[in-house]
């Protein structure tokens, strides 16, 4: 059995950490695009569409991410699709993220006071014009802090992709531990890795929140 130096461990974790970052970016970008689409459809759409989107949001919010990953990976295999761990993890995390962002953003649009709708309506703006010039710019400012805050959940969520064999930070930690038997060191380093990724985002979200409410937009 080979001896692992601390540097070996750190180096391998850093290499695997790249995939945590990449998967997080995919999940967040994909989730944001799908989530935005769903938010707009849900705000303006017909009743059956709204109902379907609500169901979608409820299902993804009401089931564990782990099950969603299992279904995307093993479920797809059962149905005859040959999906890689990459694809399964990307798809599952994207859908998971979109459901949460859709709900966060709907809340932000609804948080814009109804007087703003009335004022733009009285000035003659139609639904889309009101959305574009009056409601969305305000909703966007409200949305930034909780969205940045949620990105932390996405990063930590990628750890679950390790169970379908996707080699990211957590999986790399498990594999290293199987070889090196230094669980305390290795998993402390894994945790530190997540912390280094997440802490700046949490801080930034808190800063944005303070800035937003400090400015007193209402």
């Amino acid at each position: 059995m080979t001896d692992f130096t601390l540097w070996d461990i750190v180096r391998n974790l850093l290499l695997a950490g790249r995939w945590t970052v990449v998967l997080s970016l995919i999940a967040f970008t994909g989730g944001a695009i799908v989530g935005l689409l769903l938010t707009l459809l849900r705000m303006g759409g017909l009743t059956p569409i709204r109902w379907l989107i609500r169901l979608y949001v409820d299902v993804f919010q009401g089931t564990p991410l782990l099950m969603q990953l299992f279904l995307a990976y093993f479920g797809a295999a059962v149905l005859g699709f040959d999906v890689s761990a990459w694809t399964a993890a990307s798809v599952a995390l994207t859908l998971f993220t979109s459901a949460f962002l859709c709900d966060i953003w709907r809340g932000c649009v609804e948080a814009v006071p109804s007087g703003q709708w009335q004022a733009s309506r009285v000035l003659g703006l139609n639904y889309l014009q009101s959305m574009r010039h009056v409601i969305l710019p305000q909703a966007l400012r409200l949305a930034v802090p909780p969205t940045v805050g949620f990105s932390v959940q996405v990063i930590k969520g990628t750890a679950l992709a390790s169970v379908i064999g996707f080699v990211e930070l957590t999986k790399a930690g498990t594999m290293l531990n199987n070889a090196a038997f230094a669980p305390f060191t290795i998993f402390a380093l894994v945790a530190l890795g997540y912390f280094i990724l997440c802490y700046p985002l949490s801080r930034y979200a808190r800063h944005l929140e303070k800035k937003l409410y400090g400015a007193g937009i209402r």
């Binding site: 006071p113 007087g115 703003q116 009335q118 004022a119 733009s120 309506r121 009285v122 000035l123 003659g124 703006l125 139609n126 014009q129 010039h133 009056v134 710019p137 305000q138 400012r141 400015a215 007193g216 937009i217 209402r218």
Partner: protein, 242 residues
């Protein structure tokens, strides 16, 4: 021919009948104050006049044009009937001049230079020209309300509706807003105000309408109405607010 003519207007919210048949004619250049207890239907009547609320029955005409029931688009409505709210409702993410220019630019498709000229003109009228680049949060309530009036005027409406426009203001700021309305009245603007400012109603309006339980209970020129109310409800109301 009356500028605004309301015939047999009915409006219910669920079981609650808020307007029980309103008939009202308002001439061009007239200043009409609507008074009454809260819940008497006065704000609902005002909000029906620009279709923020859809009434259940009756008609509203502006000059000889039908205004209600989808006969006018929001864009057309905004160029006929302007509205100022109790809570100002300025757009907080836009500066004073952007607030005023938005509707002319987006709804009327006015060229930018022209929209700016109009905005400066109406802001001058309300005495807010020097605050053109301020954001609403940087202004006092009275200043915000004057900008809101300018914003409505920028669409050059024929009638201006004012829904308790001084109720959210500190007492010392009420005067500056009322002075702007007085100026507008003097220039011949048609004003319909829901108000608790009895002194203003008495001094500036040509006619006062007293609403009670969803109906126009009494109306007439302010002097007569305030000094010799005909109905016990109005005498009681006057006694309670003066």
């Amino acid at each position: 021919m009356a500028l605004v003519s309301v015939k047999d207007l009915h409006k219910s919210f669920g079981e609650l009948e808020v307007l029980k048949g309103i008939d009202l004619e308002i001439e061009a250049g007239e200043v009409v104050s609507i008074i009454g207890r809260s819940g008497s239907g006065k704000s609902t009547l005002l909000r029906c006049l620009n279709q923020l609320e859809r009434h259940d029955w009756g008609t509203i005409h502006l000059a000889d044009q039908r205004l209600d029931g989808g006969a006018m688009s929001p864009g057309e409505l905004s160029q006929n009937v302007g509205m100022v709210f109790q809570s100002f409702n300025l757009f907080p993410h836009k500066t004073v001049i952007e607030n005023v220019m938005l509707a002319p630019l987006v709804v009327k498709q006015t060229p930018r230079d022209e929209a700016r000229r109009i905005a400066e003109q109406v802001l001058d009228k309300v005495g807010m020209l020097e605050k053109i680049d301020a954001y609403p949060a940087q202004l006092s309530g009275g200043q915000q309300q004057r900008v809101a009036i300018a914003r409505a005027l920028a669409m050059n409406p024929k009638v201006l509706l004012c829904d308790e426009v001084t109720s959210a203001l500190d007492p010392e700021l009420v005067g500056e807003v009322l002075r702007v309305l007085e100026d507008l009245a003097r220039e011949g603007m048609t004003l319909i105000l829901v108000t608790h400012e009895m002194k203003f109603a008495r001094d500036v309006s040509h006619r006062v309408v007293f609403m009670h339980q969803g109906r126009i209970h009494e109306s007439g020129d302010p002097q007569t109405l305030f000094t010799r109310p005909e109905t016990p409800e109005l005498s009681q109301f006057i006694a309670s607010v003066l």
